[in-house]
Symmetry: C2
Subunit: 230 residues, 2 copies
């Protein structure tokens, strides 16, 4: 096992950062967590230097070298510390989980961000897009349930990525005022959420509403204010 210094610049409010925390914990890697305190108004110079292109979290710093973008970081972690693998070893199975990870970030995580920062008719459109993506995932999960786990018992890469869905409840509450995710409409997905939340590493490392809400409220306020000034 590598013994070089591992740091993670992140925030408990971000599903993109927390999925990296989960991966490091699953592997049992010790790391220094550097909370990025004011992502909206005052980014740390460490973050800006480590990710000059996007200036966003998470950034993993391994032996002084920065690795950016959460999916990229998860692949890196699995290559550097190959025990408790999170990606399948078979190239075809790996291509399948990579496909769904990209789908999750483009069609769920990204769209959720849009739901958070919109209102009225515009927001309804985003909610509809989100539901369309959920429907696709629901039927995929129903058909090939096993693909969504690294193994029978173990969490895998795709589970950590899909974990972003756990932020949904706060987003519904803050920005939409009603439920988007109806467990009865997505029974397979809902079963997966329950199992996922109940897994060892996850239940011990779940951000609380208090950790998520203030930041998300601020983003919504800030983006909506800047829209009215356009």
């Amino acid at each position: 096992m590598e013994k070089k210094e591992v740091k993670l610049i992140g925030s408990w409010s971000s599903p993109f950062a927390v999925r990296v925390i989960w991966a490091l914990k699953l592997k049992g890697i010790e790391f220094e967590f550097i909370e990025e305190k004011d992502l909206m108004h005052n980014k740390s110079s460490l973050l800006v230097q480590s990710n000059p292109v996007y200036k966003r979290i998470p950034v993993l710093i391994h032996d002084g070298k920065p690795i950016c973008e959460s999916l990229n970081i998860l692949e890196y972690i699995d290559e550097i510390w190959p025990h408790n693998r999170i990606l399948p070893e078979d190239p075809y199975e790996k291509s399948i989980v990579r496909f769904w990870a990209k789908f999750t970030d483009e069609k769920l995580s990204e769209v959720l961000k849009n739901v958070l920062t919109s209102v009225g008719e515009d927001q309804e459109k985003k909610v509809k897009q989100f539901e369309d993506a959920l429907n696709i995932l629901e039927s995929e999960m129903k058909e090939k349930k096993k693909k969504f786990f690294g193994g029978e018992e173990n969490l895998g890469y795709l589970d950590l990525v899909l974990g972003a869905i756990l932020w949904l409840e706060v987003i519904e509450e803050i920005s939409y005022g009603k439920k988007i995710f109806d467990p009865e409409r997505y029974p397979s997905f809902n079963r997966w959420i329950e199992e996922f939340k109940d897994s060892n590493i996850i239940k011990e490392n779940l951000p609380t509403k208090d950790q998520i809400s203030p930041y998300f409220r601020n983003i919504r306020k800030y983006v909506l204010a800047s829209k009215t000034h356009e």
Copy 2:
């Protein structure tokens, strides 16, 4: 080497498909190319079955199993046929090329599509976004030129991805009417383009303007028409 049947659903008009052709040629893999003839109005049932989520090219079919999304396909090809590697073996170097590949698709390829399908002020905004991304790549290339090649002499994954820039000339001509890419403003990038176009596999497998233009003209016409009906 695997001897299973390899098929590629694609089109010479698409940089996303052609980068996969280049990778297969670099590896010397024999494959059946299945030209998707009418992507806009009449997708083949093979495409729809093989990529039910996005219904888009390219799709690699290896031994009957479909692999979708071009970056995903390139990774798969490099794992199945590891000779003439296109991705670096070192995990950190690999994370760097994956980072820039994602950047290329999000900030160049995607934005070029927007330039193609917009007009006036809206189009100028997209061109500006594209130039911003080019500036970032130019300084990266200037500083760490080698990163953009699999080796000193050999083409790598990131080169094949960046090859999308070769479609720019047609897009400038069809949709913008003037040059976006001024070689003097991007000397490192321009040097890379010249070297890339002159590499063996690339110069033998470059789509012609005749192969690209009609499809791109159609997309522009179609999207602009549907915008005026919104």
